[in-house]
Symmetry: C2
DNA sequence: CCACATTGTTGGCGTTGCATACATTGTTAT
DNA sequence: ATAACAATGTATGCAACGCCAACAATGTGG
């Protein structure tokens, strides 16, 4: 047990919290362990007790991101209609909302450079989220609203479209006027692509 | 027109070339101006004559990436059949091939942090590429193989799917066995979604 | 109360990005 | 030619960074 703090209160949590704030405000490149320590009011080397190096902190941030992403997606499915269309739309919207609200974090989550051990944990977190997604598709199939076939193979193009749209939005590659109807168009296309027959 | 070099031979080009090599080999985080200068054999401050800071070099790298991406996509359309399906498939394959062959570079190209002026140049480069893409869709419409509608709105979901699949592949979020049929499935889905019905 | 592990501090090392001042080389006008 | 000038590369220094090792303080369990 004992996750009670020793000296500071709860350095690891506060490190993550502050790190995410500066991530949001100034981008992932501007993240400095020393500055973090300074802001919190501990010595420059203190963070290293909890994150053995900078990459480890970034990994933890990404992992945390996946978990919150997971929750946001799950939450989007509550209190929404049962049709595949409605559920997909809600999930897509949650996806993109999370993406724009956490642009730099998403960059981090889907970036290439993660340590090997971290990659496993991240893979697991990503897997948990993909389970939700596959569940949605599978249920659509059960209801006859989604065409038949191996669920992962039906899901992949849908996943790609959502992720791609979110990524394009975040990286600012979309003309602003498109954000008005872009997601609607993507969801509509996905529905057309998924439909049975 | 004097693009002949002064002292070194052609520092800017060699900087870009070496930078891209280490980008490919060790990731964008491991890129150091000083190390670059050291490798090339010039003084630590020499690069600053051509790229006022590190970000400027990264921007140039991204811009260069878009140009080569542009070429690769254009090349993919030569000597391929005229049907929309074939052309789309060729373009998708060029997209993904470029992505996996230049993972870190793609990360850079679509990353969030670009200086404002660079963003304009990058936007222009991305625009040139999107023109090709829109052309493909428009031709598909002309041939009656793609459903009608404003070309950008028809294109966006297609673009999103391709980009998303490429990004997922690059960031290693796809189970390896999926890479075998993943792209085929995505292209097939896109075709289904685009069809005139 | 005493080992002992956990957490935080201090100080230092090598590296980095960047700015400034200076030296060298090419260009161009006279 | 040669003198002004711009373009390019060098030398040096600074503050900040990540990381490491040695040490101090604090809590935990026998």
């Amino acid at each position: 047990m004992k996750n009670r703090p020793y000296h500071h209160g709860d350095l690891p949590s506060e490190l993550l919290a502050r790190a995410e704030r500066t991530l949001r405000e100034k981008g992932s490149g501007a993240l400095s362990l020393r500055e973090l320590a300074r802001d919190i009011g501990v010595s420059p080397a203190a963070p290293s007790r909890h994150f053995k190096n900078k990459q480890a902190l970034l990994d933890a941030l990404a992992l945390n991101g996946f978990e919150r992403f997971d929750e946001a997606v799950a939450a989007s499915q509550e209190g929404v209609g049962e049709s595949f269309g409605e559920r997909l739309d809600a999930m897509a919207r949650a996806y993109v909302d999370f993406a724009v609200a956490n642009a730099a974090l998403l960059d981090l989550m889907f970036s290439v450079k993660h340590s090997l051990e971290a990659s496993e944990a991240l893979g697991a977190a990503a897997h948990r989220w993909s389970e939700q997604f596959l569940g949605l598709i599978a249920e659509g199939q059960r209801r006859g609203e989604v065409r038949k076939g191996p669920v992962e193979r039906v899901a992949l193009p849908v996943f790609a479209a959502l992720h791609g749209y979110a990524d394009l939005t975040v990286s600012g590659m979309l003309p602003p006027e498109m954000t008005a109807y872009g997601l609607d168009d993507v969801v509509a296309s996905v529905l057309r692509q998924c439909g049975p027959e």
